[in-house]
Protein backbone atom coordinates (compact mmCIF):
# COMPACT_ATOMS: atom_id res chain seq x y z
CA UNK A 1 0.00 0.00 0.00
CA UNK A 2 1.39 3.42 -0.80
CA UNK A 3 0.74 6.77 0.74
CA UNK A 4 -1.31 8.80 -1.70
CA UNK A 5 0.13 12.01 -0.35
CA UNK A 6 3.44 11.15 -2.00
CA UNK A 7 1.82 12.23 -5.27
CA UNK A 8 2.23 15.87 -4.44
CA UNK A 9 5.95 15.68 -3.93
CA UNK A 10 6.91 16.63 -7.45
CA UNK A 11 6.30 16.43 -11.12
CA UNK A 12 9.11 14.10 -11.98
CA UNK A 13 8.31 10.75 -13.48
CA UNK A 14 8.60 8.36 -10.55
CA UNK A 15 7.80 4.75 -10.09
CA UNK A 16 6.80 3.96 -6.56
CA UNK A 17 6.62 0.34 -5.63
CA UNK A 18 5.45 -0.50 -2.19
CA UNK A 19 7.05 -3.58 -0.67
CA UNK A 20 3.72 -4.89 0.71
CA UNK A 21 1.31 -4.76 -2.20
CA UNK A 22 3.68 -4.30 -5.14
CA UNK A 23 1.53 -1.47 -6.47
CA UNK A 24 3.12 0.79 -9.00
CA UNK A 25 2.29 4.44 -9.28
CA UNK A 26 3.35 6.70 -12.09
CA UNK A 27 2.96 10.37 -11.41
CA UNK A 28 2.03 12.61 -14.32
CA UNK A 29 4.69 15.00 -15.54
CA UNK A 30 3.72 18.63 -15.50
CA UNK A 31 3.63 18.65 -19.31
CA UNK A 32 2.43 15.08 -19.74
CA UNK A 33 -0.57 15.54 -22.05
CA UNK A 34 -2.53 12.76 -20.35
CA UNK A 35 -1.95 14.32 -16.94
CA UNK A 36 -3.27 17.61 -18.31
CA UNK A 37 -6.46 15.90 -19.49
CA UNK A 38 -6.85 14.46 -15.97
CA UNK A 39 -6.19 17.90 -14.46
CA UNK A 40 -9.14 19.23 -16.45
CA UNK A 41 -11.40 16.45 -15.20
CA UNK A 42 -10.39 16.96 -11.60
CA UNK A 43 -11.52 20.59 -11.76
CA UNK A 44 -15.13 19.37 -12.05
CA UNK A 45 -16.73 19.52 -8.60
CA UNK A 46 -17.96 15.93 -8.57
CA UNK A 47 -14.83 14.26 -9.86
CA UNK A 48 -13.11 13.40 -6.60
CA UNK A 49 -10.28 11.47 -8.20
CA UNK A 50 -9.28 10.33 -11.66
CA UNK A 51 -6.43 8.40 -13.16
CA UNK A 52 -5.36 6.14 -15.98
CA UNK A 53 -4.78 2.74 -14.42
CA UNK A 54 -4.50 -0.98 -14.87
CA UNK A 55 -4.22 -3.87 -12.41
CA UNK A 56 -1.76 -3.06 -9.62
CA UNK A 57 -0.65 0.04 -11.43
CA UNK A 58 -1.78 3.62 -11.65
CA UNK A 59 -0.21 4.73 -14.90
CA UNK A 60 -0.96 8.45 -14.88
CA UNK A 61 -2.27 10.74 -12.15
CA UNK A 62 -3.26 14.38 -12.40
CA UNK A 63 -0.20 16.57 -12.22
CA UNK A 64 -1.41 18.70 -9.29
CA UNK A 65 -1.86 17.83 -5.63
CA UNK A 66 -3.48 14.47 -6.21
CA UNK A 67 -7.05 13.62 -5.29
CA UNK A 68 -9.65 15.63 -3.45
CA UNK A 69 -9.69 15.15 0.35
CA UNK A 70 -13.12 13.45 0.34
CA UNK A 71 -11.49 10.33 -1.08
CA UNK A 72 -8.84 10.02 1.63
CA UNK A 73 -10.88 8.00 4.10
CA UNK A 74 -12.10 5.45 1.63
CA UNK A 75 -9.17 5.30 -0.75
CA UNK A 76 -7.60 2.08 0.59
CA UNK A 77 -10.86 0.16 0.24
CA UNK A 78 -11.59 1.60 -3.17
CA UNK A 79 -8.11 0.80 -4.34
CA UNK A 80 -8.41 -2.86 -3.31
CA UNK A 81 -11.80 -3.15 -5.03
CA UNK A 82 -10.37 -1.48 -8.14
CA UNK A 83 -7.74 -4.16 -8.48
CA UNK A 84 -10.44 -6.85 -8.45
CA UNK A 85 -12.35 -4.98 -11.16
CA UNK A 86 -9.18 -4.75 -13.25
CA UNK A 87 -9.00 -8.54 -13.06
CA UNK A 88 -12.34 -8.67 -14.87
CA UNK A 89 -11.28 -5.96 -17.31
CA UNK A 90 -8.08 -7.88 -18.10
CA UNK A 91 -10.13 -10.96 -18.85
CA UNK A 92 -12.81 -9.38 -21.03
CA UNK A 93 -11.42 -6.21 -22.61
CA UNK A 94 -10.26 -8.17 -25.66
CA UNK A 95 -13.85 -9.19 -26.37
CA UNK A 96 -15.24 -5.71 -26.08
CA UNK A 97 -15.74 -4.90 -22.40
CA UNK A 98 -16.07 -1.12 -22.59
CA UNK A 99 -17.06 0.13 -19.19
CA UNK A 100 -17.61 -0.99 -15.61
CA UNK A 101 -18.60 0.64 -12.37
CA UNK A 102 -19.09 -0.20 -8.73
CA UNK A 103 -20.38 1.53 -5.67
CA UNK A 104 -18.59 1.47 -2.36
CA UNK A 105 -20.31 3.24 0.52
CA UNK A 106 -21.12 6.75 -0.73
CA UNK A 107 -18.88 6.68 -3.77
CA UNK A 108 -19.05 5.29 -7.26
CA UNK A 109 -16.02 4.25 -9.26
CA UNK A 110 -16.35 4.42 -13.04
CA UNK A 111 -14.05 2.61 -15.46
CA UNK A 112 -13.84 3.56 -19.14
CA UNK A 113 -11.70 0.89 -20.77
CA UNK A 114 -9.31 1.79 -23.58
CA UNK A 115 -10.15 -0.63 -26.40
CA UNK A 116 -8.05 -3.79 -26.60
CA UNK A 117 -6.00 -2.86 -23.55
CA UNK A 118 -6.21 -3.70 -19.87
CA UNK A 119 -6.07 -0.02 -18.96
CA UNK A 120 -8.95 2.29 -18.17
CA UNK A 121 -9.72 5.85 -17.32
CA UNK A 122 -10.97 5.65 -13.74
CA UNK A 123 -13.00 8.29 -11.92
CA UNK A 124 -14.33 8.35 -8.37
CA UNK A 125 -17.54 10.35 -7.95
CA UNK A 126 -20.09 10.79 -5.15
CA UNK A 127 -22.90 8.23 -5.30
CA UNK A 128 -25.54 10.90 -5.86
CA UNK A 129 -23.61 12.87 -8.46
CA UNK A 130 -25.36 13.82 -11.69
CA UNK A 131 -23.54 11.03 -13.40
CA UNK A 132 -24.91 11.58 -16.90
CA UNK A 133 -23.33 15.02 -17.14
CA UNK A 134 -20.03 13.73 -15.78
CA UNK A 135 -20.09 10.80 -18.21
CA UNK A 136 -20.13 13.25 -21.12
CA UNK A 137 -16.88 14.83 -19.97
CA UNK A 138 -15.33 11.48 -19.00
CA UNK A 139 -16.02 10.20 -22.50
CA UNK A 140 -14.44 13.35 -23.97
CA UNK A 141 -11.39 12.73 -21.77
CA UNK A 142 -11.24 9.06 -22.73
CA UNK A 143 -11.25 9.97 -26.42
CA UNK A 144 -8.58 12.62 -25.94
CA UNK A 145 -6.34 10.22 -23.99
CA UNK A 146 -6.85 7.58 -26.66
CA UNK A 147 -5.70 10.05 -29.32
CA UNK A 148 -2.62 10.88 -27.24
CA UNK A 149 -1.83 7.19 -26.79
CA UNK A 150 -2.17 6.57 -30.53
CA UNK A 151 -0.12 9.60 -31.51
CA UNK A 152 2.05 10.60 -28.55
CA UNK A 153 4.03 13.27 -30.41
CA UNK A 154 1.07 15.32 -31.63
CA UNK A 155 -0.24 18.32 -29.68
CA UNK A 156 -3.75 18.06 -28.27
CA UNK A 157 -6.22 20.52 -26.79
CA UNK A 158 -5.28 20.15 -23.13
CA UNK A 159 -1.55 20.35 -23.88
CA UNK A 160 -1.76 23.77 -25.36
CA UNK A 161 -1.53 26.90 -23.35
CA UNK A 162 -4.77 28.83 -23.05
CA UNK A 163 -3.81 31.34 -25.74
CA UNK A 164 -2.92 28.60 -28.21
CA UNK A 165 -6.15 26.64 -28.08
CA UNK A 166 -8.14 26.81 -31.26
CA UNK A 167 -11.09 24.79 -32.46
CA UNK A 168 -10.35 23.27 -35.80
CA UNK A 169 -13.22 20.88 -36.45
Amino acid sequence: MYNRRHFSTGYIFIWLMDKYSRDVVVIGLKDDPIALVLDDLLKLDDILACMVARRNMISVMPSGDGFKPEVDQIWDSIHRAMDSVFGVIGEYSQIGLGEMEFRLQDHEVLFYVFPDTESALVAIVPALANKGLLEVELENARREILKIMENPKAEFGSQKKDDEVCVTA
Binding site: N130, V136, D163, V165
Partner: protein
Protein backbone atom coordinates in the same frame (compact mmCIF):
# COMPACT_ATOMS: atom_id res chain seq x y z
CA UNK B 1 -28.03 34.91 -57.65
CA UNK B 2 -28.78 33.25 -54.33
CA UNK B 3 -27.51 35.18 -51.34
CA UNK B 4 -25.05 33.38 -49.13
CA UNK B 5 -25.98 32.39 -45.59
CA UNK B 6 -22.98 32.10 -43.33
CA UNK B 7 -23.38 30.32 -40.02
CA UNK B 8 -20.60 29.32 -37.66
CA UNK B 9 -20.34 27.57 -34.34
CA UNK B 10 -17.93 28.97 -31.76
CA UNK B 11 -16.50 26.91 -28.99
CA UNK B 12 -14.29 27.19 -25.95
CA UNK B 13 -13.13 24.69 -23.37
CA UNK B 14 -11.02 27.16 -21.44
CA UNK B 15 -11.65 27.46 -17.71
CA UNK B 16 -10.81 31.13 -17.38
CA UNK B 17 -14.00 33.15 -17.97
CA UNK B 18 -12.51 36.03 -19.93
CA UNK B 19 -10.39 33.76 -22.10
CA UNK B 20 -13.33 31.48 -22.78
CA UNK B 21 -15.55 34.41 -23.73
CA UNK B 22 -12.93 35.68 -26.13
CA UNK B 23 -12.33 32.28 -27.64
CA UNK B 24 -15.98 31.37 -28.16
CA UNK B 25 -16.48 34.62 -30.07
CA UNK B 26 -13.22 34.35 -32.02
CA UNK B 27 -13.80 30.79 -33.16
CA UNK B 28 -17.26 31.69 -34.41
CA UNK B 29 -16.68 34.97 -36.21
CA UNK B 30 -13.39 34.06 -37.84
CA UNK B 31 -15.38 31.75 -40.12
CA UNK B 32 -17.67 34.55 -41.29
CA UNK B 33 -16.76 36.97 -44.05
CA UNK B 34 -19.27 39.58 -42.82
CA UNK B 35 -20.09 40.69 -39.26
CA UNK B 36 -22.69 38.45 -37.62
CA UNK B 37 -26.37 39.40 -37.88
CA UNK B 38 -26.87 37.84 -34.43
CA UNK B 39 -24.94 35.87 -31.86
CA UNK B 40 -26.45 33.12 -29.69
CA UNK B 41 -24.30 32.34 -26.69
CA UNK B 42 -24.57 29.41 -24.26
CA UNK B 43 -22.24 28.32 -21.51
CA UNK B 44 -22.18 25.92 -18.61
CA UNK B 45 -22.30 27.27 -15.07
CA UNK B 46 -18.59 26.65 -14.41
CA UNK B 47 -17.48 30.18 -15.28
CA UNK B 48 -19.21 31.43 -12.17
CA UNK B 49 -16.25 30.03 -10.20
CA UNK B 50 -13.57 30.92 -12.74
CA UNK B 51 -13.89 34.66 -13.14
CA UNK B 52 -17.65 35.15 -13.26
CA UNK B 53 -20.12 35.68 -16.06
CA UNK B 54 -19.53 39.41 -16.41
CA UNK B 55 -15.91 38.63 -17.25
CA UNK B 56 -17.07 35.90 -19.60
CA UNK B 57 -19.31 38.34 -21.43
CA UNK B 58 -16.57 41.00 -21.38
CA UNK B 59 -14.36 38.49 -23.15
CA UNK B 60 -17.01 37.95 -25.82
CA UNK B 61 -17.33 41.70 -26.36
CA UNK B 62 -13.53 42.06 -26.61
CA UNK B 63 -13.98 40.31 -29.95
CA UNK B 64 -17.59 40.61 -31.10
CA UNK B 65 -18.40 43.64 -33.29
CA UNK B 66 -20.19 46.34 -31.30
CA UNK B 67 -24.01 46.25 -31.41
CA UNK B 68 -24.27 42.64 -32.55
CA UNK B 69 -27.58 41.37 -31.10
CA UNK B 70 -26.67 38.78 -28.46
CA UNK B 71 -28.87 36.55 -26.31
CA UNK B 72 -28.28 33.30 -24.45
CA UNK B 73 -27.53 31.99 -21.01
CA UNK B 74 -26.29 29.14 -18.91
CA UNK B 75 -27.28 25.60 -19.87
CA UNK B 76 -26.64 22.10 -18.54
CA UNK B 77 -24.61 21.21 -21.62
CA UNK B 78 -24.57 21.44 -25.38
CA UNK B 79 -23.94 19.50 -28.55
CA UNK B 80 -22.51 21.07 -31.68
CA UNK B 81 -20.49 20.16 -34.78
CA UNK B 82 -17.47 19.48 -32.55
CA UNK B 83 -19.01 17.08 -30.02
CA UNK B 84 -21.00 16.83 -26.78
CA UNK B 85 -20.02 18.83 -23.74
CA UNK B 86 -21.22 19.42 -20.20
CA UNK B 87 -18.51 22.02 -19.60
CA UNK B 88 -17.51 24.98 -21.73
CA UNK B 89 -19.13 27.57 -23.95
CA UNK B 90 -20.56 27.51 -27.44
CA UNK B 91 -22.09 30.07 -29.76
CA UNK B 92 -23.97 30.21 -33.02
CA UNK B 93 -23.19 33.24 -35.18
CA UNK B 94 -25.11 33.86 -38.38
CA UNK B 95 -24.43 36.39 -41.06
CA UNK B 96 -27.04 36.93 -43.77
CA UNK B 97 -28.24 40.02 -45.55
CA UNK B 98 -31.93 39.06 -45.83
CA UNK B 99 -32.64 38.83 -42.15
CA UNK B 100 -34.01 41.39 -39.70
CA UNK B 101 -33.08 40.78 -36.09
CA UNK B 102 -34.51 41.97 -32.78
CA UNK B 103 -33.79 41.10 -29.18
CA UNK B 104 -36.05 41.53 -26.17
CA UNK B 105 -35.89 41.17 -22.42
CA UNK B 106 -38.43 40.84 -19.60
CA UNK B 107 -37.52 40.72 -15.93
CA UNK B 108 -38.88 39.07 -12.76
CA UNK B 109 -40.19 36.02 -14.56
CA UNK B 110 -40.91 33.99 -11.45
CA UNK B 111 -42.78 36.82 -9.75
CA UNK B 112 -44.79 38.08 -12.70
CA UNK B 113 -44.35 35.87 -15.76
CA UNK B 114 -47.10 37.52 -17.81
CA UNK B 115 -45.70 41.02 -17.49
CA UNK B 116 -42.18 39.79 -18.32
CA UNK B 117 -43.40 37.86 -21.36
CA UNK B 118 -45.49 40.77 -22.63
CA UNK B 119 -42.69 43.30 -22.24
CA UNK B 120 -40.21 40.99 -23.98
CA UNK B 121 -42.59 40.20 -26.85
CA UNK B 122 -43.40 43.88 -27.36
CA UNK B 123 -39.73 44.68 -27.89
CA UNK B 124 -39.62 42.09 -30.69
CA UNK B 125 -42.91 43.25 -32.19
CA UNK B 126 -41.83 46.90 -32.22
CA UNK B 127 -38.48 46.15 -33.84
CA UNK B 128 -39.73 43.79 -36.53
CA UNK B 129 -43.10 45.29 -37.43
CA UNK B 130 -41.65 47.05 -40.50
CA UNK B 131 -39.84 43.96 -41.75
CA UNK B 132 -40.77 42.85 -45.25
CA UNK B 133 -39.74 39.25 -44.67
CA UNK B 134 -42.62 36.90 -44.10
CA UNK B 135 -40.92 34.04 -42.22
CA UNK B 136 -40.69 34.86 -38.56
CA UNK B 137 -38.90 33.03 -35.78
CA UNK B 138 -38.50 33.52 -32.06
CA UNK B 139 -36.19 31.93 -29.52
CA UNK B 140 -37.92 32.28 -26.15
CA UNK B 141 -35.20 31.68 -23.56
CA UNK B 142 -36.30 31.80 -19.93
CA UNK B 143 -34.64 31.59 -16.53
CA UNK B 144 -35.07 28.00 -15.34
CA UNK B 145 -36.19 26.62 -12.00
CA UNK B 146 -34.27 27.41 -8.82
CA UNK B 147 -34.91 24.96 -6.04
CA UNK B 148 -35.64 26.74 -2.79
CA UNK B 149 -33.65 25.57 0.19
CA UNK B 150 -35.98 24.31 2.93
CA UNK B 151 -34.74 24.99 6.47
CA UNK B 152 -33.38 21.81 8.03
CA UNK B 153 -33.71 19.88 4.75
CA UNK B 154 -31.74 21.81 2.15
CA UNK B 155 -32.31 21.38 -1.58
CA UNK B 156 -33.78 17.90 -2.02
CA UNK B 157 -35.71 16.20 -4.79
CA UNK B 158 -37.51 13.96 -2.33
CA UNK B 159 -38.90 15.13 1.00
CA UNK B 160 -40.02 12.35 3.32
CA UNK B 161 -41.49 14.46 6.11
CA UNK B 162 -45.23 15.12 5.83
CA UNK B 163 -45.04 18.23 8.00
CA UNK B 164 -42.25 19.81 5.97
CA UNK B 165 -43.99 18.87 2.72
CA UNK B 166 -47.21 20.60 3.77
CA UNK B 167 -45.22 23.68 4.76
CA UNK B 168 -43.23 23.62 1.51
CA UNK B 169 -46.36 23.35 -0.65
CA UNK B 170 -47.85 26.38 1.11
CA UNK B 171 -44.58 28.31 0.87
CA UNK B 172 -43.96 27.61 -2.82
CA UNK B 173 -46.01 30.54 -4.11
CA UNK B 174 -44.59 32.85 -1.47
CA UNK B 175 -41.04 31.85 -2.34
CA UNK B 176 -41.68 32.62 -6.01
CA UNK B 177 -43.17 36.01 -5.29
CA UNK B 178 -40.74 37.17 -2.61
CA UNK B 179 -37.34 35.69 -3.44
CA UNK B 180 -38.02 34.36 -6.97
CA UNK B 181 -37.00 30.83 -6.09
CA UNK B 182 -39.11 27.96 -7.33
CA UNK B 183 -40.52 26.75 -10.61
CA UNK B 184 -39.49 28.60 -13.77
CA UNK B 185 -43.08 29.25 -14.98
CA UNK B 186 -41.78 28.88 -18.50
CA UNK B 187 -45.08 27.36 -19.63
CA UNK B 188 -46.94 30.52 -18.62
CA UNK B 189 -44.36 32.78 -20.27
CA UNK B 190 -44.38 30.74 -23.46
CA UNK B 191 -48.19 30.83 -23.66
CA UNK B 192 -48.22 34.58 -23.17
CA UNK B 193 -45.48 35.03 -25.78
CA UNK B 194 -47.49 32.97 -28.27
CA UNK B 195 -50.51 35.13 -27.50
CA UNK B 196 -48.48 38.27 -28.24
CA UNK B 197 -46.69 36.95 -31.34
CA UNK B 198 -49.00 34.35 -32.90
CA UNK B 199 -47.48 34.50 -36.39
CA UNK B 200 -43.99 33.47 -35.26
CA UNK B 201 -42.51 29.98 -35.26
CA UNK B 202 -40.97 29.53 -31.83
CA UNK B 203 -38.63 27.40 -29.86
CA UNK B 204 -38.68 27.48 -26.06
CA UNK B 205 -35.67 26.86 -23.86
CA UNK B 206 -34.73 27.51 -20.26
CA UNK B 207 -31.43 28.35 -18.64
CA UNK B 208 -29.99 26.01 -16.03
CA UNK B 209 -26.89 25.11 -14.11
CA UNK B 210 -25.38 21.63 -13.89
CA UNK B 211 -28.68 19.89 -13.13
CA UNK B 212 -28.70 21.07 -9.51
CA UNK B 213 -31.22 23.86 -10.12
CA UNK B 214 -29.49 26.25 -7.74
CA UNK B 215 -28.86 29.19 -10.07
CA UNK B 216 -28.88 30.22 -13.70
CA UNK B 217 -28.06 33.30 -15.75
CA UNK B 218 -29.33 34.88 -18.95
CA UNK B 219 -27.26 36.94 -21.37
CA UNK B 220 -28.75 40.00 -23.05
CA UNK B 221 -26.28 41.98 -25.14
CA UNK B 222 -23.67 43.02 -22.53
CA UNK B 223 -25.85 42.32 -19.47
CA UNK B 224 -25.91 39.32 -17.14
CA UNK B 225 -29.40 38.72 -15.80
CA UNK B 226 -31.26 36.38 -13.47
CA UNK B 227 -34.99 35.58 -13.38
CA UNK B 228 -35.42 37.02 -16.85
CA UNK B 229 -36.68 36.03 -20.25
CA UNK B 230 -34.66 36.94 -23.34
CA UNK B 231 -35.97 36.68 -26.88
CA UNK B 232 -34.27 36.54 -30.23
CA UNK B 233 -36.66 37.50 -33.00
CA UNK B 234 -35.88 36.96 -36.68
CA UNK B 235 -37.72 37.90 -39.86
CA UNK B 236 -36.16 36.41 -42.97
CA UNK B 237 -36.68 35.03 -46.44
CA UNK B 238 -35.13 31.73 -45.38
CA UNK B 239 -37.51 28.79 -45.10
CA UNK B 240 -37.84 27.59 -41.55
CA UNK B 241 -39.84 25.18 -39.48
CA UNK B 242 -39.98 23.84 -35.93
CA UNK B 243 -40.70 20.37 -34.59
CA UNK B 244 -40.94 18.57 -31.23
CA UNK B 245 -40.47 14.84 -30.70
CA UNK B 246 -40.01 12.92 -27.46
CA UNK B 247 -40.15 9.15 -27.91
CA UNK B 248 -42.22 8.54 -24.78
CA UNK B 249 -44.66 5.64 -24.95
CA UNK B 250 -47.88 5.02 -23.08
CA UNK B 251 -48.02 2.15 -20.62
CA UNK B 252 -51.28 0.51 -19.58
CA UNK B 253 -51.16 2.40 -16.28
CA UNK B 254 -53.64 5.26 -16.05
CA UNK B 255 -55.03 7.30 -13.19
CA UNK B 256 -57.26 10.25 -12.51
CA UNK B 257 -56.06 13.38 -10.77
CA UNK B 258 -58.73 14.23 -8.24
CA UNK B 259 -57.07 17.07 -6.33
CA UNK B 260 -54.51 19.67 -7.36
CA UNK B 261 -52.66 22.20 -5.20
CA UNK B 262 -49.93 24.87 -5.22
CA UNK B 263 -51.51 26.82 -8.07
CA UNK B 264 -52.11 23.60 -10.05
CA UNK B 265 -48.43 22.68 -9.86
CA UNK B 266 -48.92 19.86 -7.33
CA UNK B 267 -50.81 16.60 -7.70
CA UNK B 268 -52.25 16.03 -4.23
CA UNK B 269 -54.65 13.16 -4.86
CA UNK B 270 -55.06 10.57 -7.58
CA UNK B 271 -57.99 8.20 -7.75
CA UNK B 272 -59.25 9.95 -4.59
CA UNK B 273 -56.20 8.79 -2.59
CA UNK B 274 -52.94 10.48 -1.55
CA UNK B 275 -50.98 10.81 -4.77
CA UNK B 276 -47.60 9.22 -4.04
CA UNK B 277 -48.72 5.96 -2.33
CA UNK B 278 -51.25 5.46 -5.13
CA UNK B 279 -48.60 6.08 -7.78
CA UNK B 280 -46.32 3.52 -6.11
CA UNK B 281 -49.19 1.01 -6.08
CA UNK B 282 -49.90 1.57 -9.78
CA UNK B 283 -46.25 1.09 -10.69
CA UNK B 284 -45.84 -1.90 -8.38
CA UNK B 285 -43.08 -0.10 -6.55
CA UNK B 286 -42.68 -0.92 -2.84
CA UNK B 287 -43.45 1.58 -0.12
CA UNK B 288 -40.24 3.44 0.68
CA UNK B 289 -38.90 2.96 -2.84
CA UNK B 290 -38.58 6.68 -3.40
CA UNK B 291 -35.33 8.21 -2.20
CA UNK B 292 -32.96 10.90 -3.48
CA UNK B 293 -31.28 8.14 -5.47
CA UNK B 294 -34.38 6.66 -7.10
CA UNK B 295 -35.46 10.21 -7.93
CA UNK B 296 -32.26 10.45 -9.99
CA UNK B 297 -32.18 7.01 -11.54
CA UNK B 298 -35.70 5.55 -11.72
CA UNK B 299 -38.51 8.03 -11.75
CA UNK B 300 -37.08 9.90 -14.71
CA UNK B 301 -37.95 6.90 -16.86
CA UNK B 302 -41.62 7.12 -15.92
CA UNK B 303 -42.89 10.49 -17.11
CA UNK B 304 -46.62 11.19 -17.02
CA UNK B 305 -48.85 12.58 -19.72
CA UNK B 306 -50.85 15.43 -18.23
CA UNK B 307 -53.31 17.83 -19.78
CA UNK B 308 -53.05 21.59 -20.08
CA UNK B 309 -55.82 23.49 -21.82
CA UNK B 310 -56.79 20.27 -23.57
CA UNK B 311 -53.25 19.66 -24.90
CA UNK B 312 -51.23 16.58 -23.87
CA UNK B 313 -48.20 17.60 -21.82
CA UNK B 314 -45.66 14.85 -21.08
CA UNK B 315 -43.60 15.79 -18.04
CA UNK B 316 -41.20 14.18 -15.61
CA UNK B 317 -41.84 14.30 -11.88
CA UNK B 318 -38.90 16.38 -10.67
CA UNK B 319 -39.89 16.77 -7.04
CA UNK B 320 -41.83 14.64 -4.57
CA UNK B 321 -42.94 15.96 -1.22
CA UNK B 322 -44.24 13.09 0.92
CA UNK B 323 -47.67 12.48 -0.68
CA UNK B 324 -47.52 15.26 -3.29
CA UNK B 325 -46.06 15.16 -6.78
CA UNK B 326 -44.78 18.53 -7.99
CA UNK B 327 -44.90 19.04 -11.75
CA UNK B 328 -43.01 21.70 -13.69
CA UNK B 329 -46.02 23.35 -15.35
CA UNK B 330 -49.60 24.30 -14.60
CA UNK B 331 -51.87 21.33 -15.29
CA UNK B 332 -55.54 20.38 -15.42
CA UNK B 333 -57.06 17.60 -13.38
CA UNK B 334 -58.53 14.50 -15.01
CA UNK B 335 -57.18 11.44 -16.79
CA UNK B 336 -53.42 10.82 -16.84
CA UNK B 337 -51.29 8.12 -18.49
CA UNK B 338 -48.01 6.92 -17.12
CA UNK B 339 -45.43 6.89 -19.89
CA UNK B 340 -42.13 5.16 -20.25
CA UNK B 341 -39.01 5.95 -22.22
CA UNK B 342 -35.72 4.19 -22.90
CA UNK B 343 -32.39 5.40 -24.25
CA UNK B 344 -33.23 3.81 -27.59
CA UNK B 345 -36.57 5.65 -27.69
CA UNK B 346 -34.72 8.92 -27.09
CA UNK B 347 -32.32 8.31 -29.96
CA UNK B 348 -35.24 7.33 -32.20
CA UNK B 349 -36.93 10.61 -31.27
CA UNK B 350 -33.96 12.48 -32.73
CA UNK B 351 -34.16 10.48 -35.96
CA UNK B 352 -37.90 11.07 -36.18
CA UNK B 353 -37.38 14.76 -35.57
CA UNK B 354 -34.81 15.11 -38.35
CA UNK B 355 -36.97 13.14 -40.79
CA UNK B 356 -39.58 15.86 -40.42
CA UNK B 357 -37.11 18.26 -42.07
CA UNK B 358 -36.37 16.02 -45.06
CA UNK B 359 -37.69 18.67 -47.46
CA UNK B 360 -35.43 21.43 -46.15
CA UNK B 361 -31.85 21.92 -47.30
CA UNK B 362 -30.45 23.18 -43.99
CA UNK B 363 -28.26 26.25 -43.59
CA UNK B 364 -28.18 26.10 -39.78
CA UNK B 365 -30.16 24.59 -36.91
CA UNK B 366 -30.95 25.29 -33.30
CA UNK B 367 -32.15 22.70 -30.77
CA UNK B 368 -33.57 22.96 -27.29
CA UNK B 369 -33.51 19.61 -25.52
CA UNK B 370 -34.36 18.38 -22.04
CA UNK B 371 -31.34 18.11 -19.75
CA UNK B 372 -32.80 14.89 -18.37
CA UNK B 373 -31.98 13.37 -21.75
CA UNK B 374 -28.35 14.40 -21.26
CA UNK B 375 -28.45 12.90 -17.79
CA UNK B 376 -30.04 9.71 -19.14
CA UNK B 377 -27.89 9.14 -22.20
CA UNK B 378 -24.64 10.27 -20.55
CA UNK B 379 -21.68 9.24 -22.69
CA UNK B 380 -24.09 7.82 -25.30
CA UNK B 381 -25.06 11.40 -26.14
CA UNK B 382 -22.44 10.99 -28.86
CA UNK B 383 -25.01 8.93 -30.78
CA UNK B 384 -27.25 12.00 -30.91
CA UNK B 385 -24.32 14.14 -32.09
CA UNK B 386 -23.55 11.64 -34.86
CA UNK B 387 -27.18 11.76 -36.05
CA UNK B 388 -27.05 15.54 -36.14
CA UNK B 389 -23.72 15.59 -37.98
CA UNK B 390 -25.11 13.17 -40.57
CA UNK B 391 -28.04 15.48 -41.17
CA UNK B 392 -26.21 18.82 -41.18
CA UNK B 393 -22.97 17.65 -42.86
CA UNK B 394 -20.82 20.81 -42.98
CA UNK B 395 -23.61 23.16 -41.86
CA UNK B 396 -23.63 24.55 -38.34
CA UNK B 397 -25.91 23.42 -35.53
CA UNK B 398 -26.14 24.04 -31.84
CA UNK B 399 -28.19 22.03 -29.36
CA UNK B 400 -28.49 23.23 -25.78
CA UNK B 401 -29.89 21.37 -22.76
CA UNK B 402 -32.81 22.97 -20.91
CA UNK B 403 -35.20 22.30 -18.06
CA UNK B 404 -38.50 22.92 -19.84
CA UNK B 405 -38.78 23.20 -23.58
CA UNK B 406 -41.19 23.25 -26.48
CA UNK B 407 -42.11 24.68 -29.84
CA UNK B 408 -44.91 26.66 -31.38
CA UNK B 409 -45.97 27.17 -34.94
CA UNK B 410 -49.15 28.82 -36.19
CA UNK B 411 -50.13 25.54 -37.89
CA UNK B 412 -49.27 23.14 -35.05
CA UNK B 413 -49.99 25.27 -31.96
CA UNK B 414 -47.97 24.90 -28.74
CA UNK B 415 -46.10 21.72 -27.95
CA UNK B 416 -44.67 21.83 -24.45
CA UNK B 417 -42.99 18.68 -23.20
CA UNK B 418 -40.26 17.44 -20.90
CA UNK B 419 -37.77 14.85 -22.17
CA UNK B 420 -38.18 16.27 -25.68
CA UNK B 421 -36.12 17.34 -28.68
CA UNK B 422 -37.17 20.69 -30.10
CA UNK B 423 -35.78 21.76 -33.40
CA UNK B 424 -35.72 24.91 -35.51
CA UNK B 425 -34.09 24.50 -38.89
CA UNK B 426 -33.38 27.32 -41.32
CA UNK B 427 -32.63 26.72 -44.98
CA UNK B 428 -34.20 26.34 -48.38
CA UNK B 429 -37.11 24.17 -49.38
CA UNK B 430 -35.82 21.41 -51.64
CA UNK B 431 -37.11 21.80 -55.18
Amino acid sequence: MELKVEAAVGMSRKWDARGAGREVAETAIKKLSEPPSFFLLFSTIHYEKYGGFQEFLNGVWDVLPKDTPLVGGTVAGFVNNYGCFSRGASALAVSYSNIDVAVGVGRNTKRNPYRAAKKCAEMIQDSLKESLYKNKFLLNFISGPVMPSIPGVGQKKYIRSGFISKFAIQALGLSQALVQKGLAREDEIFEETVKQLPDYQMILGTSMDDYRAMKNYQFFNDEILTNSVVNLGLATDLDLDVCTTHGMKETNHNFTITKLGAGNHAICKINGKPAVPELLRLLDWPEGFLTEETMLHSILYYPISLKRNGRAVPVVMPLIMKDYIIVPCIIDDGEVSILTVSGKDLVNAVKENLQYFDEIQPEFGLFSTCMTILQTLGRKTNIVQEELCNYFKDKSFLLFYSAGEGTYSPTKDITYANMSFNTAIFGHQKK
